[in-house]
């Protein structure tokens, strides 16, 4: 935008040179004034931290039984103890005296297994469907479009609630339901990339050499499609963790006494004023996990993005 000297009095950004706004008229032109300035690529600290947290929480969840934690449903005698007030209960206790740290870690088990299971299932089914639609087009594609439109026609939460109403909630049913919600996303990515790759020369060459469709799909198309699909997986997983948490919050998740982050937040809600830690501890675990998944997911998409068709 036109800028005049009266508007911009800021000091020059680069030594020896200024922007169009303030052309100095007195100094003689320096023949080789500014030094070549290389721009360094900043390393993604956020993604690194996120990855660290994910490793920690996954390990903790898997090895929970081996860790020196009190049982998550062991009713104790110190109710609503604040965090950092006792070595026995580092993160405090809830209204029934149960250890928060232990519940948080066992809750991680529930949330993560549901989310990861659902992500993997959705990824497999979605990629398969998407590849078929993108490779064979016409009839397969129309079916694909209709099915995804129907799946997407249900607002996710209502769909999950209805599903939970129909089936007894357990880790498997929740994972299956969430997988259904995730399938359209993966399917679309797989389809878009399949369409892009199926027209490339190496596929035509393979076909000319007599390769069957299955072989082409498996050996040529799949490896190229997997990369962009997987880079989305982390971000999708983050969304599914949120979905599972929402269900548990509403009381529709894995039933008690199995602890879940959403459930802990729901029950802690009543004592918010006096004992905020009942909400903040599970909330923090939740936030860190989703944040890390999103951050690492964004980094993965950024790395893959340049090479994919999307």
């Amino acid at each position: 935008m036109p800028q005049t000297k009266t508007e911009q009095q800021a000091p020059p950004p680069l030594e020896g040179a200024t922007s169009a706004a303030a052309l100095a008229t007195t100094a003689p032109p320096p023949a080789d004034a500014p030094v070549v300035r290389r721009r360094r690529r900043r390393r993604d600290i956020g993604a690194a931290l996120g990855a660290t947290w994910l490793v920690v929480i996954v390990l903790a969840a898997v090895l929970a039984d081996l860790l020196p934690l009190p049982a998550p449903d062991a009713i104790g005698d110190q109710f609503s103890l604040a965090p950092f007030h006792s070595w026995e209960h580092v993160l405090g206790t809830d209204q029934l005296g149960r250890d928060q740290l232990s519940r948080a870690i066992y809750g991680a088990r529930v949330s993560l297994s549901v989310a990861i299971g659902a992500t993997l299932l959705g990824l497999v089914v979605g990629t398969f469907g998407g590849m078929l639609a993108g490779y064979y087009r016409r009839a397969a594609d129309t079916t694909f479009e209709i099915v995804t439109n129907v799946l997407l026609a249900f607002p996710p939460l209502i769909f999950l609630i209805a599903l939970v109403a129909a089936l007894r909630p357990s880790i498997t049913t929740l994972a299956a339901g969430l997988a259904l919600v995730a399938v359209p996303t993966f399917a679309r990515i797989a389809r878009a990339n399949t369409i892009a790759f199926a027209n490339r020369e190496f596929v035509t060459a393979a076909r000319a050499m007599g390769a069957t469709d299955a072989r082409i799909l498996g050996r040529e198309v799949l490896p190229n499609v997997m990369l962009p699909v997987m880079s989305f997986a982390l971000v999708v997983a983050a969304a599914l963790v949120v979905a599972e948490g929402s269900l548990s919050f509403l009381g529709l998740g894995v039933p008690p006494p199995a602890p879940s982050w959403g459930g802990m937040i729901a029950s802690g809600r009543e004592e918010l004023y006096d004992h905020a830690h009942l909400v903040l501890v599970p909330g923090l675990f939740f936030f860190l996990t989703v944040f890390s998944l999103n951050r690492v997911g964004d980094w993965a998409r950024g790395r893959v993005g340049r090479e994919s068709a999307l």
């Binding site: 036109p2 800028q3 005049t4 000297k5 009266t6 508007e7 680069l14 020896g16 040179a17 200024t18 922007s19 169009a20 706004a21 303030a22 052309l23 100095a24 008229t25 100094a27 003689p28 032109p29 320096p30 004034a33 500014p34 070549v36 300035r37 290389r38 721009r39």
Partner: protein
């Protein structure tokens, strides 16, 4: 009526020419460098240029010569990563563009000096009607009310040769053909009667049949308005018959500048000569080998010292690798007024002929370029 409004606005903004015969544009020692990940790109590296009122200047150069960056610097639409070095000076009708008041700046760009872009398909906003784009410029600079602006917009379209202008006003750019879109672009640029028009490759993106029409149109409009024009192109054929003067750019500098007829008859800089020679002639026998310029385009990041054309020039001597020739400096053959070049061993001078002979004897130039009988310029 429009002239009266324009005159009034010009007086209001204090943009009357500083002197009666101030050049329309005067660029002094312009350097525009870009801060990129690979280093500092010296897109424009010391350009001196001027255009007298009412005259046409052709700026010729290959891609990367800096001609587009030059035009954007003059129009003040450089990218944020561009850096204009101190010592650069751009004067429009005598007014230094760095020291304008807000009011002057507001009335300068788009009104006193305007630009026509290369690709009419992408240089018109797709979501606004043609009429809207015209009237918003008119109302911004000339303060016309809605009705007057619409009338003027219609006049403008008729003036640039668009049939059924009233209907076109309501249409969107994608409803028009390429040639018509470029006419709209020209109408937009000329809407406020500028004193200087910059046409950046105005016909490159058009069909050959349409190119002629557009160039003729520009010529006609310029004569009618009496405005100065800069015609930027890589195509010598475009400027040959339509410009008063030509400036040849290479690697961010002007290497030769002369009145058109003089330049095409008596070019001095080896690059200019090579450009002219590279144009294939219809009269040549078939299978005549095309005379390409040997070597690669110059690097504008951290360029080596000396003349930027040395690596590709058949006249290159050791001096060319050490010193940088200056436009209009004390070089042989720089005696004709109005004709300036930047070369130590120019074409058509004893020094230049000697340099070539020396290189021929050695079999290569001082820069290592192989030379034989056929390389003579």
């Amino acid at each position: 009526m429009i002239e009266a409004v324009v005159t009034e606005k010009v007086a209001e903004a204090g943009l009357a020419p500083v002197e009666p015969d101030a050049p329309a544009l005067s660029v002094t020692d312009l350097r525009v460098w870009f801060d990129t990940a690979r280093g500092l790109v010296r897109a424009v590296d010391g350009v001196n240029l001027h255009v007298e009122a009412g005259r046409t200047l052709g700026v010729v150069g290959e891609s990367g010569s800096g001609k587009s960056v030059l035009s954007r610097a003059v129009m003040n639409i450089l990218a944020p990563s561009a850096v204009v070095l101190p010592g650069s000076r751009i004067e429009i009708e005598g007014h230094d563009t760095a020291t304008l008041t807000k009011e002057q700046a507001r009335h300068l760009w788009g009104a006193r000096v305007a630009m026509v872009f290369q690709d009419p398909m992408t240089s018109l906003t797709p979501v606004l009607t043609v009429g809207r784009q015209l009237t918003e410029t008119l109302r911004r600079h000339l303060g016309l009310d809605r009705a007057a602006a619409v009338t003027r917009a219609e006049e403008l379209l008729r003036w640039v040769g668009i049939p059924e202008p009233a209907r076109r006003l309501r249409q969107y750019p994608h409803n028009l053909s390429g040639g018509m879109r470029q006419r709209v672009g020209i109408a937009l640029a000329l809407s406020c009667s500028p004193r200087l028009l910059i046409a950046d490759e105005p016909t490159t993106a058009l069909d050959v049949t349409v190119q002629h029409q557009i160039l003729n149109l520009l010529g006609r409009l310029q004569a009618e308005e009496g405005m100065a024009m800069i015609l930027i192109t890589h195509d010598l054929g475009v400027v040959a018959g339509r410009t008063d003067d030509i400036a040849v750019m290479y690697a961010g500098r002007v290497v030769e500048r002369a009145p058109t007829k003089v330049l095409l008859r008596e070019m001095r800089h080896p690059y200019t000569r090579a450009l002219v020679r590279s144009i294939p002639r219809v009269a040549d026998p078939s299978h005549t080998r095309l005379r390409a310029i040997p070597g690669r385009p110059p690097t504008v990041i951290d360029p080596p010292p000396g003349c930027s054309f040395a690596a590709r020039c058949p006249h290159a001597r050791p001096r060319c690798l050490a010193e940088t020739p200056v436009l209009g400096g004390d070089h042989p053959g720089n005696t004709t007024p109005g004709h300036r070049h930047a070369c130590f061993f120019p074409v058509g001078t004893p020094e230049g002929d000697q340099a070539f002979a020396d290189n021929l004897a050695a079999g290569r130039t001082a820069a290592g370029l192989p030379v034989d009988e056929g390389s003579v310029l």
